[in-house]
């Protein structure tokens, strides 16, 4: 129990030959909510993709451990089955594959990996509908193809639905708050709060303080210059709002 849930040490990631993260270290404990802020191009999304194990995000140095286990040797699906969830910045459309079918397949794949039996179809449907209604996601979107013809806000809420049904141990949400109107933002924030149970951890990657005002993170980090330039509590958010990222960029350089 003593090891942090997520333990990233001196992580260096190269994308298409270019070093994006250089010796980044970050610890996230169980039940904690961390916010990662930073200017465009700082490598926030790169961190998220590397955590999830995407091809092309090559880790050239350092380590990532999840609940004590080395993530580097694991495929994306193994990481997912261990309980690492990535909320995508731009969720992709998969035509013809029903939204519910993907979610049920995903849940069953994760249950299988955990040695559990498949979920009963009716039970699954009940649970999915319940969570969808909490997230104010229109019921007809459950039957449609994955993200097929969804608005930007609907796609983000659908990510939240998957999060709520899959119940991962760590959710990395990559700009889930971007492009949402205030009502949708409140729905997403309350979704996060509802899933905050003292065990589940969150890493919120964001540009804006508005989501952080609604969720109140335990820790805030500024990602700049390829690493964590500064860490602090919620007060750091106000500081950033006032001063911008300029100072951190200078400090990091």
């Amino acid at each position: 129990m003593s090891a942090p849930l997520l333990d990233i040490r001196e992580l260096t990631v190269r994308v298409e030959g270019k070093e994006i993260l250089s010796g980044l270290s970050l610890e996230v404990g169980r039940g904690e909510v961390h916010a990662i802020m930073g200017p465009n191009g700082a490598g926030k999304s790169t961190l998220a993709q590397a955590l999830a194990g995407r091809d092309g995000y090559g880790v050239s140095a350092g380590s990532m451990r999840f609940d004590g286990e080395d993530l580097l040797g694991m495929s994306p699906e193994e990481r997912a089955c261990k309980g690492l969830f990535l909320g995508f910045q731009y969720p992709v459309e998969i035509p013809g594959v029903s939204n519910m079918y993907l979610l049920r397949s995903a849940l069953n794949a994760q249950r299988k990996a955990a040695g559990q039996p498949e979920i009963n179809a009716a039970e699954f449907l009940r649970r999915a509908r319940q969570e969808a209604s909490r997230l104010k996601l229109k019921p007809e979107l459950l039957k449609r193809g994955v993200n097929e013809g969804f608005s930007g806000g609907e796609k983000k809420r659908n990510e939240m639905l998957q999060l709520a049904v899959l119940k991962p141990r760590l959710a990395v949400l990559d700009e889930t708050d971007s492009g949402l109107d205030i009502d949708a933002l409140k729905v997403v924030a309350s979704g996060i709060r509802a899933l905050r149970d003292g065990q589940r951890a969150f890493v919120l990657i964001t540009h804006y303080e508005r989501i952080l005002n609604l969720v109140s993170p335990d820790k805030v980090h500024v990602l700049a210059g390829g690493g964590i330039a500064r860490s602090g509590g919620a007060e750091l958010v106000q500081e950033l709002e006032a001063a911008g990222y300029e100072t951190f960029l200078r400090e990091a350089a």
Partner: protein, 485 residues
């Protein structure tokens, strides 16, 4: 930013999964030496103990074929075929002692069909599908004949129909696909050796799915089967067809003809899962699948529906079509064509609207991978008298990788000013983004590919009868577990 899926080694492996039905059955056969002339046709006709009218018809077809030329309009690269190097007749066992019942069928044959997942033996009839098995040129077993006979349904090898029901054969053979129709239809008419025959009497719903399983076994043989299905007034039948062949380095020719006749108020549903050997990953070997399939909605309110899953063959040239002659008749064509490596497919349909208030629906899904070329070719023709004709066409192409091609040639020939004809076409790629998205949610890569391809094909798979959906599923390795919700 994202690498194309084709470069991903695991996807490559998935795509290059080996052909599962490539074995050869070691069995004694009665095979004519290669070559084709009138004498060969006379021998075939004599072995089949055919009536004079049929021999005459064959010879007329042969004479027409001799003067005809291979079609060259398809977007296919077809190496020259030496028609004199092919053997036009091959039957398992000695021709004289054909099996009278399943108990007399060579156990090695039964084993072959077992291996293919087509159990012919009575013990395995739980699926409730009547099967006619055609091995090389000859029908070797037909199951459930007596139960069908009780309903008045005739389901038998074509050669048996020629003997037992010559009046029906004479009336309908060539009435939908005349031997002059095209080069391969002419060749088939001259040399066809067997196939399936179905007659469903008036106001009868065929009590079970009918199925024919075609298998090419012998080397250097062609398979030229002929299928004729007649649905009399007010009747209904669903027919399934499957095909496999051993792996060989040389190409083999399969030139079949299928004719469907739907009389007044009759319905025919014809489904195909075509899995002939496609050749290896370098493009060596494989079946040339040059097939003419056509249905004639001859009576009012009749309907014909084609569903095909085309996965095998080195080259496919095939356009299951509907002649909508009867008023209020409907034609449907649902197709999934998958090509990989060096496979080529030029496939589609023709909907010929002649009667009034006729309607047709075309849904084509082409999946192309490797260096394959996949073409949809369609014709919608509306005659000037076809008041109230409607057609809807949708053609979607899915590309996996950068070296393959997808092409769409929808022809429309609209002779009535108020016909309603809609056409929609899309082309898309399986993206790394889609795969990663699925894997991030916990699905293995293979499952993710299957899920995406299945989603793409879903509307067509939904049209297959349950019994065949299973085979399509195995073939595409795609889960057909219905999407819920």
């Amino acid at each position: 930013m994202s690498a194309p899926a084709a470069r991903n080694p695991e996807i490559q492996e998935l795509l290059q999964r080996k052909y599962q039905h490539g074995f050869v059955t070691d069995i004694e056969s009665d095979t004519l030496p290669p070559g084709l002339d009138e004498d060969v046709i006379r021998v075939i006709s004599a072995r089949k103990e055919e009536p004079e009218f049929l021999l005459d018809w064959r010879l007329r077809a042969f004479r027409y074929w001799r003067e005809a030329r291979e079609p060259s309009w398809a977007k296919l690269n077809i190496p020259p075929i030496d028609y004199q190097a092919i053997s036009y007749y091959s039957a398992p066992g000695a021709a004289k002692d054909a099996p009278k019942s399943l108990d007399e069928v060579d156990p090695r044959l039964l084993e072959t069909y077992d291996k293919l997942g087509i159990p012919l033996h009575e013990r395995a009839r739980l699926a409730g599908v009547a099967v006619d098995a055609v091995f090389d040129s000859v029908s070797v077993a037909t199951t459930f004949k007596s139960r069908l006979a009780e309903a008045g349904v005739i389901f038998c090898p074509f050669s048996e129909a020629v003997r037992e029901h010559p009046e029906l054969v004479r009336k309908y053979l060539g009435s939908v696909v005349p031997y002059r129709d095209n080069y391969f239809a002419a060749l088939n008419s001259a040399v066809f050796t067997d196939g399936s025959f179905v007659y469903v009497p008036k106001n009868t719903r065929c009590p079970m799915e009918l199925s024919t399983y075609f298998r090419i076994n012998e080397r250097n043989t062609g398979q030229f089967e002929r299928t004729l299905i007649i649905a009399d007034e007010g009747s209904e039948v669903s027919y399934l067809e499957g095909c496999t062949a051993p792996m060989r380095d040389e190409n083999q020719l399969h030139a079949a003809v299928v004719e469907l006749v739907a009389l007044k108020d009759a319905r025919i549903k014809y489904s195909t899962v075509q899995n002939w050997y496609p050749g290896d990953e370098k493009g060596r070997g494989g079946i040339y699948n040059f097939v003419t399939k056509r249905g004639d909605c001859r009576g009012r309110n009749s309907s014909i529906s084609w569903t095909q899953v085309e996965a095998g063959s080195a080259i496919t040239w095939k356009y299951p079509s509907c002649i909508l002659r009867g008023d209020n008749s409907t034609g449907e064509f649902y197709s999934v064509a998958v090509t990989n490596n060096f496979q080529q497919a030029d496939t589609g349909t023709k909907m010929i609207h002649i009667g009034r208030n006729t309607s047709s629906n075309i849904l084509s899904k082409g999946i192309s991978a490797g260096r394959a070329q996949n073409t949809y070719r369609g014709l919608v023709k509306v005659f000037p008298r076809a008041e109230g004709a409607r057609n809807r066409t949708q053609c979607d192409s899915l590309l996996i990788g950068r070296d393959c091609g997808a092409h769409t040639f929808p022809h429309m020939d609209i002779g009535h000013p108020r016909a309603v004809v809609e056409h929609e076409a899309t082309t898309s790629r399986i993206s790394e983004d889609q795969l990663f998205y699925c894997r991030q949610r916990g699905l293995g890569e293979e499952d993710a590919v299957n899920l995406i391809v299945n989603g793409f094909c879903k509307q067509v798979f939904n049209m297959l009868p349950m019994e065949f959906a299973v085979e399509a599923q195995a073939l595409m390795n795609v889960s057909l577990e219905g999407a819920i919700g």
